[in-house]
Symmetry: C2
Subunit: 202 residues, 2 copies
DNA sequence: ATTGATAACTTAACAGCGTTAAGTTGCGTG
DNA sequence: CACGCAACTTAACGCTGTTAAGTTATCAAT
């Protein structure tokens, strides 16, 4: 009967409630500054209940990041369809990536800046799934630019990694050195992307 | 007599012993995974002794980072004297920065990647001292390029931060994503610097 | 209808953390 | 010899992530 199915649904619902509460706290106050007890308090369960749904605190964060980065991949796909011109598409994709990082600094920190090694188990697969997928989008845009001969360089991976490095550099610098007197964010982002494209065009 | 001076010297010596022990542990196992008690054990003092020399754990980390910044600044100065041409100087400086990071990945991680925010307010900016000095060297090179009108852009800080971001991006990506199928390190570094300079030249 | 299993959830506790208040020791000066 | 001060330690507080054991409710089978 539908009993088992209903229980399964309820289980999944609580799992989602935990993730939503945890995400809100993590994003607001940072992963390290949020305790399991605070998450539990927020959802009005005992702290140990969380351990019935997630192996430990890190696994909880991983699950949240999976969700968030699925969103990023989707957003990149959307940008891919929007722009017909490959250069424009590349630029918009990079911009989306950077702005995503700035909007979700804690998720970005976890997955791209400090990858904490999970002491046990099969290890951290996010990079191989969501992260790789995101890189695939970037690579496709670059490949289009090279195919249309608007870029001088021909090594698709080198150029892709150049864009990733620059985008990552801007993003992580703005995130981790909040107090540094940076110029306006948008100015720095625009200058970065424009300079790269200008320098690559033949 | 020289008593006070000797005591001062001894105090400074123990302070340095603490910093050396802490740095070694931090670099080996990461800031979060090293407790004050473990540092104390290593130097064979009680944990509270450390608090006679450093306000708290983060202050200890900050002091260590100051030292690292100082080393980097010195190396940048050396490279600065070598090259007369401003573009060449800028390139060599960036290269030195990146190679410093790749050669001391754990120090780099500690000072530029993992550096957490100090909760005791905004008066703590590491960037105002040693980090600023390093940034100053970069800025001077960029300023020379702009003064000699080899660069199109005129905002010295924006361009400086562009180079910092790109250099940091390459460095941190190579350090933290060791298993990713990057192209050859030198290829990526060269492409990055050449593309930036090409894109900025008028 | 009673029993028994099973799943969901809680209580209590452990070991360790950063940090502080209070206490102890040893030494140079009066 | 006694005082004061500096260096250092002991003991404790209130946290933390996590686990073992215990409770409760619900469904299946006798």
């Amino acid at each position: 009967m539908g009993l088992k199915a209903r229980r399964e649904r309820e289980r999944e619902a609580l799992r989602q409630v935990i993730m939503d509460a945890a995400r809100e706290l993590f994003v607001e106050e940072g992963f390290e500054n949020v305790s399991m007890r605070r998450i539990a308090e927020k959802i009005e369960y005992s702290p140990t209940t969380i351990y019935l749904y997630f192996e430990d605190k890190l696994s909880l964060l991983y699950a949240i990041c999976q969700e968030t980065f699925a969103k990023l991949a989707k957003r990149l796909e959307a940008h891919e369809r929007e722009a017909a011109d490959p250069v424009d598409r590349l630029k918009k994709g990079c911009r989306a990536y950077i702005e995503f990082g700035l909007k979700h600094p804690n998720h970005y920190k976890l997955t791209f800046i400090t990858l904490p090694q999970h002491p046990k188990g099969p290890g951290w697969k996010l990079e191989e799934s969501m992260g790789m997928k995101a890189y695939g989008h970037l690579r496709a845009s670059v490949e289009a630019c090279i195919a249309q001969k608007v870029f001088r360089a021909t090594d698709v991976d080198a150029v892709s990694q150049l864009f990733w490095a620059a985008g990552h550099g801007v993003t992580s610098l703005l995130i981790t050195h909040k107090h540094f007197p940076f110029v306006a964010k948008n100015q720095l982002i625009d200058l970065t992307l424009d300079t790269l494209i200008e320098g690559l065009q033949q």
